[in-house]
Symmetry: C2
Subunit: 269 residues, 2 copies
């Protein structure tokens, strides 16, 4: 009997559990190891150098547990550290940006795409690069929305403050790119604000705006990367979760995972 | 000629520069070394274990530079790591909580004090302990306000969103402690929101509420700790700033320091 190798997923925090959720739906028999770098979260306000440095230690933790595939659930890490992570990994590494770009190109009718994310994701230019590599005629407008992560973590996702904050950001986007018909949620936290983002975006654009994220597309990319190799077991795979800090995990994690959690093991990186 | 030893100040980020500002006013001849742990910021949402672990590495960095005094500008670190930091330091260590408690007791007429801060500061109970050690009859109500740090960093300090967020938090405080006449800003970022906090607090309380912070009191405590030792030079002391990540420093640091900065040196902790 051959050893079952798990899929490794890491994120700066717990938002990446949305990717685990999509993964468990697409590949239910697979074992998964998740690592949230909750002691050093957030990555999105930090420099590429720090993001790369921390991401490499996260991946090293997963590789030491003999994962057969690494998923970078964090958009900031994907946008700033993918080349370094691929360079350092003997197994395939899937980031969030390329699947997100493909989802956006599949959804847009006019080729006018918006992406919202952290400061570090927007500054990296990674979405523009990924989108234009696939379609040189597509036009991308990227906007940093730093307040949306704390709003999602505070649970202020369906109220006046969430609406005002989304409006303030998206006004800038639609003022400069009014033809945008597809908006990428380029940060794992933003799906918690999906309803208000979609409503405000369509209202400001005065036309329907499709809102996409990369979690489902990442799970599809993982399925493809495993080829004929995915585990065909019918019983559900194991999910082992690790975090570098335990504060608020019990409160935040279930919001993103969408299923009960058996808990996190604490690890120092 | 004896070697001039600097005063060391650390914080999880750049907010602690408000303490440096007060220090340079109170002790203008002193040399200061400031360290902002901007790669691992924020501390306020993290567990006491992580806060203590990171704070010790910050202090170690300052001690290696032969500081004669350590100031913990960060309320979260002061509230969660002061005993460990004092234990590990051969020189005096001044936290933010005790000076803040003294400022509050000096300002209150009724003994009803409120403190707002990070989750980790509020959970620690450090302000209640410091206040009741000095006045067992004083009543403290502590409230965590996680959104106020990101609001201050985003520069949304004087608008509708800042007002709504402050109102949402302070309503809870004044509903449960209506007699509060003094409010401690128990986080280095909150002074940027002082105007809106003071206005909303007095409006909700229907009486004047004094708003105090610990920066000035910390500088006074530093002066006292140096005794007859402070540097009597009339020319201004050196200020050397270090940070663990350089992202947004040029934008954020001057808001807190209130004077031009020559820059930060990057250091890995």
């Amino acid at each position: 009997m051959t050893k079952r190798h798990p899929i490794g997923v890491f994120d700066s925090g717990v938002g990446g559990l949305t990717v685990v959720r999509a993964l468990r739906r697409a590949l239910p028999g697979e074992d998964i190891i998740y690592l949230g770098d909750t002691a050093r979260v957030p990555y999105g306000s930090k420099s590429p150098r720090t993001v790369e440095r921390y991401s490499l230690t996260c991946q090293q933790f997963l590789l030491a547990r003999e994962v057969k595939l690494v998923l970078i659930a964090c958009n900031t890490a994907s946008a700033n550290a993918l080349p370094a992570l691929r360079e350092a990994s003997p197994v395939p590494v899937i980031g969030a940006v390329e699947p997100g770009a493909e989802s956006a190109l599949a959804a847009t009718r006019t080729g006018n795409i918006g992406v919202i994310g952290t400061l570090a994701t927007v500054r990296s230019g990674a979405y523009a690069k990924a989108i234009n590599a696939r379609d040189p005629h597509a036009r991308l407008f990227a906007l940093a929305c730093p307040m949306l992560v704390p709003l999602a973590e505070e649970g202020w996702t369906e109220d006046e403050i969430a609406e005002l904050a989304c409006r303030r950001y998206l006004q800038q986007l639609f003022a400069q790119a009014p033809a945008t018909d597809t908006l990428v949620l380029g940060c794992t936290h933003y799906p918690l604000l999906r309803d208000v983002i979609a409503r405000v975006a369509s209202e400001l654009a005065k036309h329907e705006v499709a809102v996409v994220d990369s979690a489902t597309a990442m799970a599809e990319a993982a399925k493809e990367a495993l080829g004929s190799g995915p585990n065909k077991r019918t019983n559900a795979g194991r999910l082992d979760c690790f975090a570098t800090d335990t504060s608020r995990l019990d409160e935040l994690a279930p919001r993103f995972l969408g299923e009960p959690l058996t808990g996190f093991d604490l690890v120092d990186l």
